[in-house]
Symmetry: C2
Subunit: 577 residues, 2 copies
């Protein structure tokens, strides 16, 4: 064992030992190089799946099942400067592809975290940079034939759908995006005027085309909308606009979908091998059916349909909900002179925008770029944090936030606002992965709540509406001219049930969440986001989405999976027994 456990935490020594063990087929030797608490997060390289293997036994089983066919080789430390460090980027090959990853060693020289991730398939490299074509030869791609019967149908043309379509275009996989809007970007343009990204610009780049360097830290919804339209055009994506997917049925015999598409008053059927749902994992707007809703004489709409504060001056608006959209809409309405009340039914996590910038700053910022941390490297570093250990890393940071911003939180509390940091103390980080919401990144509304500009009804629910207002569970009542339901979205599984069938929805099961056993994310533990960007239990069905960062990074992994199938490569998805 002396050779198998190098005595200093030197990356190059560990990788040499690991590489040697794998090359000789010695699984036990390879597994002995991992520490007692160890994680191997694999993204397609070994498992053709997104999996985090926890502990030596799981790693052992996976290697036994995969090593012979995967054929890993030529492991190297990617940066010479990291050879003698205890962590760093690595690169290696498999029989099918070129891979990248990250290793983090414990002080005893054994591995705590190994990330392995497929980057490209051999023989199917993207035609970029030195591989670009001259452009004078005839174009072998026939866009119109593709558009008739694509190999992949992507439903939804937001940032996720377009980014994936671009990846597939680069890989030469025939794909069509269908979207219900007339133009790409309309999903952003049609929202309220004050909407901005709440994540900073460095975090949000899409594949291939970085945002311009003069863009603000928080791009506006119109900048994003126009970007998406330009992106689709520059990447020469095949998009069916103003089109709806009516139904999608999987034909087991043909191993293909039959998808009915309604466009311009006509219906047609396409038969893609794969359907990717990229409509946003939030599902349809969730509008609670309140007693008296039909009696209420004023205006009612969901936050997703809120037109913005223009025209609401002097009007009484009740906003149900206390997450991001509710705050944005309340601030915007107040700014336009409305009399606004936010109804906070349960506790919310609020974090100041500045803190989000600080969290992301080491990986996504001007400073990070200047230090040579490319967007791709930042994404790999994020992936190198297994979800099991995430709380131990994030919780202390959140405790510091609570302390440093205690005055901020005290003022919110004094106004009656109920704040929390999540059941595991990881605040926005855990909530985003468990629920995709339940928080507000403060861009100014919190101060308006604290000083009473936005009125607050907290800890109550709405009992019913009457003709002119809202009656609460504590018996109090408010006049209202308008009610905005910032009440979130239905589970995504309902979208699948509606589009495909309840049976398919049941087969697929929950979407998003990682089985934390907390706050709307029940177990069992998964350690990865459920059904996202990886094979689902329904053949030919894939789910893509998430914020810009998730979409950017995982569109690569999803595109590689589709490309491998398109080229009939031997794809063996490993499943632990």
């Amino acid at each position: 064992m002396s050779m198998a456990t190098p005595q200093t935490a030197k990356l190059v020594a560990w990788l040499d030992a690991f590489s040697h063990a794998l090359a000789t087929g010695d699984v036990a030797q390879a597994v002995a190089l991992f520490g007692d608490q160890c994680f191997w997060r694999d993204q397609l390289a070994f498992t053709w799946d997104l999996q985090t293997l926890e502990g030596r036994a799981s790693i052992h089983a996976m290697l036994e099942a995969t090593l012979a066919t995967v054929g890993p080789s030529t492991w190297t430390v990617a940066d010479a400067a990291q050879r003698d460090a205890s962590e760093g980027f690595i690169a290696f090959d498999t029989a099918l592809g070129r891979c990248e990853g990250y290793v983090r060693l414990a002080s005893d020289g054994r591995c705590q975290v190994l990330l392995t991730s497929l980057r490209e398939l051999k023989g199917f490299e993207e035609p970029r940079g030195p591989r670009r074509v001259s452009g004078l030869e005839p174009n072998p791609r026939n866009s119109s034939a593709q558009a008739e019967q694509p190999y992949v149908l992507i439903i939804g043309g937001g940032h996720s759908g377009l980014g994936l379509a671009a990846r597939l275009k680069m890989l030469g996989v025939p794909a069509v995006v269908i979207d219900r809007h007339p133009r790409p970007g309309d999903n952003w343009r049609s929202r309220y005027a004050s909407l901005h990204l709440h994540d900073p610009v460095w975090f949000d780049h899409m594949p291939y085309l970085p945002f311009p360097d003069h863009w603000p830290v928080f791009p506006s919804k119109d900048q994003i909308g126009d970007w998406l339209e330009s992106y689709a055009r520059i990447m020469e994506l095949d998009i069916a606009s103003s089109a709806e997917c009516v139904s999608a049925t999987y034909d087991e015999a043909a191993d293909a979908w039959q998808v009915r598409i309604a466009q311009a008053g006509r219906e047609r059927t396409v038969r893609p091998k794969h359907v990717v749902l990229a409509t946003g994992v939030s599902g349809e707007p969730n509008v609670p059916v309140l007693p008296g809703a039909t009696e209420f004489a004023g205006q009612q709409h969901h936050s997703a349909a809120h037109p913005g504060g223009e025209g609401f001056a002097g009007r009484k608006v009740v906003v149900l909900g206390a997450n991001n959209s509710a705050h944005d809409i309340c601030a915007d309405l107040f700014g336009h002179g409305a009399d606004v009340t936010m109804v906070q039914r349960s506790s919310t996590h609020v974090v100041r925008l500045q803190r989000v910038l600080e969290f992301l700053q080491p990986l996504y910022s001007e400073e990070a770029s200047a230090r040579g941390i490319t967007t791709e490297r930042a994404d790999l570093l994020r992936a190198a944090l297994p979800l099991r250990v995430m709380p131990a890393v994030v919780r202390p940071a959140m405790e510091r936030v609570a302390q440093e911003d205690s005055a901020f939180y005290s003022q919110l509390a004094a106004a009656g606002f109920k704040n929390d940091f999540g059941a595991d103390g990881t605040g926005i980080v855990g909530k985003a992965m468990r629920n995709g919401g339940g928080y507000y990144i403060d861009t100014g509304a919190s101060a308006l709540i604290a000083n009473g500009s936005i009125k607050l009804k907290a800890g109550v629910d709405v009992s019913r509406l009457d003709r002119t207002g809202v009656v609460f569970s504590d018996g109090s009542r408010l006049d209202a001219d308008c009610i905005v339901y910032a009440t979130g979205f239905r589970p995504f599984t309902e979208t699948i049930a509606k589009l495909m069938s309840p049976e398919v929805a049941q087969r697929v099961g929950r979407v998003w969440g990682y089985g934390a056993g907390l706050e709307g994310d029940p177990g069992p533990w998964e350690g990865e986001l459920r059904n996202m960007w990886k094979p689902t239990p329904q053949p030919g069905l894939w789910i893509h989405g998430g914020n810009f960062q998730w979409s950017r990074r995982n569109s690569l992994l999803l595109a590689l999976q589709l490309k491998a199938r398109f080229e009939n490569l031997p794809v063996n998805v490993y499943r632990p027994r």
Copy 2:
């Protein structure tokens, strides 16, 4: 003098001596640091003009006139690695701005070439990268007010006009582009289908937004067209589309233009301080009036209006001209089954595409990028070659081409094609700067001429047309169904005369050319392209254009000149007596 002439060709030593001489106001000392054959090419830093000063006397006079007000300081070698080299990039400040440049020393340690170029104005830095705004504050720019009465009116929304508008947007100078097409990019979309850029993609980037790295080496006209439309949207440019400039009159009393613009059947007048002509320095299509042209029963059009070869199968087409467009159109017509004859009236310079790639490769290529030569640095290096010494550098390269491609040229000659390398032997390089044409970059038509697929009538002119064909000066005759006039464009001065007045056109004088005293570019020697990107004799009138490289680079210099005037900075344009 010992200190003033360092004995080794070490950049840092020379720059220290130069800097010391300037700091102490010792012009004689500074001038003594230049060699017997020396050039100082200044771009705004000292002269607020684009000038190449040739010889010590010119440099002396310029420094005497400018040094006190310019206030140059903090001269440094930009790359530490170049400190002991004999040439390299430099940086320095003036009272008003931050500047960059390049120095090339002779073996005796004295300066052969000094390039000095303004990069940004102090206090008016572009809001990019670390200077980007958060995006949450209200936007101080009021686009609609700008659009009503801009400070700068740019006539023409091709790559030149849009690139300049983007520069001005970044600098906060209110500018509007008027363009006669409905959409940006239509000037490319409307051309024949086979049109590509004949310069490689690395040479062609526009300001701020690099082309995507999957683009082919030679982008197609539709890729360029769509790019321009996306560019205008992403850069949030103010464009008046489907608009024509009816007339422009300079109001001496108000120091402003009165420009009548026709758009959507209405006319309005705007009063910009500055008008930039960015319609392309080629002027209007030149259609010779041939005897019998009205009698000819077939189709006739200028190359700029040529629709492409579709529909010409089996038809007899005569193309007058033998430059780029003529070749492209002939090859396209032949590819569509037409019976094509090219009429070459005078000699043309043909160079194989591969040679153009090789010329540009050291500065503009994947390899150059990999060596750290950014587009900006490549542009500076190009500018560091004074036009007076250009032939000595370019002619030997062309002689090598003639030798290495002797079989190619022999085959063309055997087909009767008349080739030349320009009056000074600099081929495409000199012709582009003297005439903006007179050459063909071969993308395949030459082989078709050599093998007779494209028929050739060389050394003759057209005497007249009759009802069914063309009669040549040697008495021969050809039947024709269609005549394409690939006969170039009128002098740009006619465009100015038409738009402004003959008096303004006369005041401005020749546009383009550098006074070579050769081939349509009469003297006197100018050493810079006439009236391009710099103050013209007509107050408030500027001319912008050129290929993508010229436009990219010089749009910065033109934008800085306009910004300095917009901010009422003390701009003293130096003119030699």
